[in-house]
Every structure is written in structure tokens, then in C-alpha cells.
């Protein structure tokens, strides 16, 4: 299968010397979902804006369906759809007018654009609000409208920049369904997310981005396997006890334990035997966990292992 999206050594520096991208390369196979995972400010949105021709890279190149994003940007724009982090819809227009406008600007006739608008409004459960100005919409409705507008021309390549940030759980699951349906119909999707669970669940392949660089790439299984170990979560009941437990374990444990709130996380490289070791150490210090759970590593663990800091919103802390 050919690659729908290819980027080579993209570099972008903003005014004031902020290096948003420091040599990002990507390859996304046609018909697959690719996840760009990283914290705020990692460069995900900058990468999307370059791939959607909104920004020019300082150096490096990128192609979408074989069209160069700088030299053949018009051809790129004719085959992409973009739904942004901040819903790019017109507040003063109604939902129907918004989709119709985008349809006409992608060179559908007014009639076809209107028909598609009605279909999409129904599909995204906005029919009742179709004739109301968008300024009366809730945040979730705006996001659905934004996505619907991106789909009006049925583009083969879709860029979704943090599509579920701020969505309620119901809308998030519905969006996951939409992405599955689109790739089922042959679309290629590149999405950015801060949600590790989402990347894990949706993306065929992932690139972990941190400070403008891709620090790991692969399937989510590959990334997890690179960390290797099963994780033991020890809930100590409160933060104070968790800090004490962290100190006790840090002194004796082969891989650094991590604390997240009242929970201490341990990598279990030596199998089940290590569970009894850990509990023994804690028992000696008179620190018995309230609950414990054994689980496979999450992408949050991957992130921590790769970057030395947790993903955005994670409160994990490593002993000093």
C-alpha cells in the first residue's frame, strides 16, 4: 500500500525563536489511522498546519497523496479535510449555512452542497439545530458541526487536531465510531491527541512527539512492548503514605517507582515474585496498601519512560 501522507525532516521555528518542529518525519499508509501523541506544545498542531498547507515549513518537505504541500498546495487542499482543535465554524451562520458554505468553497454546486449539509446534519444529530445560528450551539455541537463541515467534500485524507478535547464521553465514543467508518470506506486519518487511551484505541500506528521531535514510532503494541514490564499499582490510601512507600521502594527497586496521587506504580520485570517482594518491603515499613492491581503498561507509562516526564495532565512524579 502506498503512503497517503509523507513528511521528511519538517522544521518550523516561530518568531521569537520558538522551535516548534525540529525535524519531524512521518509516513502514513493509505486507509489507516495515524496518531500523533504528545503533550501541549509538543508540535502536533504545527505539524498538522504544515500538512494542511496553512503553514510553510522552514525546511523539510511533505506530500499528501503525492502532492507537495508547498509547491502543489492547491492539489493538497482539494483532497483533505481539516477539523481543528477550536471549531472553525462561523458563529453568525446556522449549522446548515456553515456546511453549505464549506461545500460551495470546495466547489460543489449549491444544490449538492445543500443536500450533503442535510445528510451530515442528520448523521451528526444536528438536524433540530440546523437553522439556528451557531452562537446558540453548545461546545459539543460546534465540534460536531466542525467535523461535519470537514466531511462535506468526502475528502480521502482527514486531519483531526485533538478531535475529542473537551468532548463528553458519549460524543467521544460517537466520534471514534465515525473515524472507524471513514477508514472503513478508504479514508486516511491523521489525528493528534493528548489522550493516551484514545491513541491506543484508534490509531493503527502512533508517533510520540515531544518538544518538536518524534521520540518513538510504531504500533501501540510495539511501543508498549518496548517498555516491556507489567505494572503493579499500589493504592496507599493517601498521598503522605504514598510518598513514604515511594521512598521505601525507591531505595530497593531495580526500576524507578512512580507516584501518581495516592498510588505508587512499580514495573514488574521479574514476574509475580516481585509482587511479594514489594509487599514485604512495605510491610517492614508498616505501610500496607489499601488496594493493589496488576495491569499491562499504558501509553502513559510509555510516555514517561520515553520522555522522563508524564504526558500532559498526568501527575506522575519520579523520586529525586
Amino acid at each position: 500500500m502506498a503512503n497517503a501522507i509523507e513528511a521528511t525532516d519538517l522544521v518550523k521555528t516561530f518568531k521569537g525563536g520558538v522551535r516548534a518542529l525540529e525535524g519531524v518525519s512521518l509516513a502514513v499508509e493509505e486507509g489507516t489511522v495515524f496518531g500523533l501523541l504528545g503533550p501541549n506544545g509538543a508540535g502536533k498542531t504545527t505539524a498538522v498546519r504544515i500538512l494542511t498547507t496553512i503553514l510553510h515549513p522552514d525546511s523539510g518537505s511533505a506530500r499528501v497523496l503525492g502532492h507537495d504541500v508547498v509547491h502543489d498546495s492547491a492539489a493538497v487542499r482539494a483532497c483533505i479535510g481539516l477539523a481543528g482543535q477550536y471549531a472553525a465554524v462561523d458563529e453568525n451562520l446556522t449549522g446548515r449555512e456553515n456546511i453549505r458554505m464549506v461545500g460551495q468553497l470546495t466547489h460543489l454546486t449549491r444544490k449538492v452542497a445543500s443536500e450533503r449539509a442535510d445528510e451530515l446534519l442528520e448523521r451528526f444529530e444536528l438536524t433540530d439545530a440546523a437553522n439556528r445560528p451557531v452562537k446558540t450551539y453548545s461546545g459539543g455541537m460546534r465540534r460536531r458541526l466542525d467535523l461535519a463541515a470537514a466531511l462535506v467534500d468526502r475528502p480521502p485524507v482527514l486531519f483531526l487536531d485533538e478531535p475529542t478535547t473537551g468532548l463528553d464521553p458519549y460524543s467521544r465514543v460517537a466520534l471514534w465510531g465515525v473515524i472507524g467508518e471513514l477508514t472503513g470506506a478508504g479514508a486516511t486519518v491523521l489525528l493528534t491527541t493528548q489522550y493516551l487511551e484514545e491513541a491506543d484505541r484508534l490509531a493503527d500506528r502512533l508517533a510520540v512527539v515531544d518538544r518538536g521531535k518524534v521520540i518513538a514510532e510504531g504500533t501501540s503494541e510495539e511501543l508498549k512492548a518496548s517498555i516491556g514490564a507489567t505494572v503493579l499499582d499500589l493504592n496507599m490510601g493517601d498521598e503522605e503514605r504514598a510518598k513514604q512507600a515511594l521512598a521505601v521502594l525507591a531505595a530497593r527497586w531495580p526500576r524507578e517507582p512512580v507516584r501518581s496521587g495516592a498510588t505508587v506504580e512499580l514495573q514488574l520485570e521479574g514476574g509475580a515474585r516481585m509482587v511479594t517482594d514489594a509487599l514485604g518491603l512495605l510491610d517492614e515499613a508498616d505501610l500496607v496498601p489499601v488496594t493493589l492491581a496488576v495491569r499491562e503498561p499504558s501509553l502513559d507509562d510509555v510516555f514517561l519512560a520515553l520522555t522522563g516526564h508524564g504526558a500532559e495532565g498526568s501527575e506522575k512524579e519520579v523520586t529525586q
Partner: protein, 275 residues
């Protein structure tokens, strides 16, 4: 959950990627329609932009007008005033181009436009065309108000020619104010940046008082600056008196100059602005 399918188009029709001049016109009209719809959704904005010129008509006709002596204009000060009111109204109206573009940039809708296969010129052309349509409406309202306070035209053809000339002037000026809108951080800043330019242009001109009553050092500026020329031209065409032809030529030259210099600057600003 609805059962409407979400098909995906795997081929890109060749014509879709091309921007032809005809497409650029259609795209501009789509954006113009969007801006006009927005005006109807915020009717208070349109209301207030018409109230202001009406206030100026009443202010100058009944408060200041008695103190302003004009010679050589049939019908007296009201006929001198109204062409100036038209000019001032359309000039002030062009600030809405700055404000509208600054707002669009703030809200991220331009981000969407930049990712669409539409003509790059459409956002600016659609905005300036919408403001032209708005100016036509306001001119019609002000004509009615003017008639009510005693404004009488010399000849309808001359009046219409004057209106056409000042609408053309306002359209060109919109491109200038587009530059401000694209340079400002937000719509409030755009407004603050526009007025120091607009005030001397609209008031230090023969809009409300004869240029001959101004101090000598100001007269040259007031006469030959763009708004000075268009006021003189519009007045000659609408109510007679003065040398219409030379002022019309002066106005057209200014229109050309503004378009040649500021329209490309606006397009360049739009292309390079990273929102």
C-alpha cells in the same frame, strides 16, 4: 444513532484543484454571502452604523449648519452638506472591513478557509464586496433622510454618478482598511488603529465645511488628499458647482493608487499572516 452513511471520495477531480478566474469570482461571492448573512444576524450593528450618519445629518443641518456659510451652492448649506455626509458615511463604513477581517482571524474561521481549495483572494474580495453592498444600503437610507431635511439634487443622473463614484472610492478604501484588519491583533485594536487615519482624512477635507475657511497650511492637504477629492467630485456631480471633471479624475487616480499599492499589500498580509 443515525444511519446516514459517510462515503469517502478516493479520486480528486482534476478541475477541483484548479483556481480559474471564474472560480475566484464564485468563491468571492460565496464569502460575500456569508458576510452579508452575518450582518443580518447582528441587526443592531447595521442599525447603529446607520444611526451615526443620521445623527451627523441632523447635527450639521440644524446645530452647526447655521454658522457655516457657503457660497456658489444652490440650495445652501444642506446641499453642500449631504455629499459630504455620503462620503463620510462610506469612509467610516470601510472600518467594518478592518473589524470584520480582524474578527475572522481571531475566530479561526480563516484557518478553515486556508485549508479549502478556494481562491486565496476570496476572503478579502468577499469581505470588501459585502461592505460595498452594505454601503449601498446605507447610502439609500441617508438619501431618504437627506431628502427629508431639504436636500435636493441638481439632476438625478449627476446624483447617481456621484453615488457610483463614492461607492467605487469606498470599495478601494476597503482594501486599505483590510490591511489594518490583517495587521491588528484583534477587532478592538483594528478599530483603534483605523480611527486616527480616518479622522483627519474625513474631517480635514471639504466634507462639512468649505476648504477655503481652513488655515492656509491645511488647505492644500484638505483639497488634494483622497477624501478631499472625492467630496469635491461628489458635490459637483450631485448639486453642481465646482470643476467636476478635474475632481473626478483626481478621485479615480486616488482609487487606482490605493488599489495598486494597498490591495497587493492586503493580499500579501493575508498570505503571510499565520493567525
Amino acid at each position: 444513532m443515525s444511519t446516514v452513511a459517510l462515503p469517502v471520495r478516493l479520486q480528486t477531480p482534476a478541475q477541483q484543484a484548479k483556481t480559474t478566474p471564474w472560480r475566484a469570482v464564485l468563491d468571492a461571492l460565496v464569502v460575500m454571502e456569508r458576510n452579508l448573512i452575518a450582518y443580518t444576524r447582528v441587526p443592531e450593528a447595521l442599525f447603529f452604523s446607520s444611526v451615526q450618519p443620521v445623527m451627523f445629518v441632523l447635527l450639521f443641518r440644524y446645530v452647526f449648519g447655521g454658522a457655516i456659510k457657503v457660497v456658489g451652492i444652490r440650495g445652501g448649506y444642506v446641499n453642500f452638506l449631504m455629499p459630504g455626509i455620503f462620503v463620510q458615511t462610506v469612509c467610516f463604513g470601510s472600518v467594518s472591513t478592518s473589524i470584520g477581517l480582524a474578527e475572522d482571524l481571531q475566530k479561526g474561521i480563516i484557518e478553515r478557509f486556508r485549508s479549502l481549495p478556494m481562491a486565496r483572494s476570496a476572503v478579502l474580495a468577499g469581505r470588501t464586496l459585502a461592505d460595498l453592498v452594505r454601503n449601498v444600503l446605507v447610502v439609500i437610507i441617508i438619501t431618504g433622510v437627506g431628502y427629508a431635511v431639504g436636500f435636493r439634487v441638481e439632476a438625478v443622473v449627476g446624483f447617481l454618478a456621484g453615488v457610483a463614484l463614492l461607492l467605487l472610492f469606498a470599495y478601494c478604501l476597503s482594501w486599505g482598511f483590510a490591511v489594518i484588519g490583517l495587521s491588528a491583533a484583534n477587532s478592538e485594536t483594528a478599530q483603534v488603529m483605523a480611527f486616527p487615519i480616518l479622522f483627519p482624512l474625513t474631517f480635514a477635507a471639504g466634507t462639512f465645511v468649505p476648504v477655503s475657511t481652513m488655515p492656509g497650511w491645511l488647505q492644500g492637504f484638505a483639497k488634494y488628499q483622497p477624501v478631499g477629492e472625492v467630496s469635491a467630485a461628489a458635490r459637483s456631480l450631485m448639486v453642481g458647482g465646482g470643476a467636476a471633471a478635474s475632481h473626478v479624475i483626481g478621485t479615480l487616480l486616488w482609487c487606482l493608487g490605493v488599489l495598486v499599492v494597498l490591495a497587493p499589500l492586503a493580499v500579501w498580509k493575508y498570505r503571510t499572516r499565520t493567525a
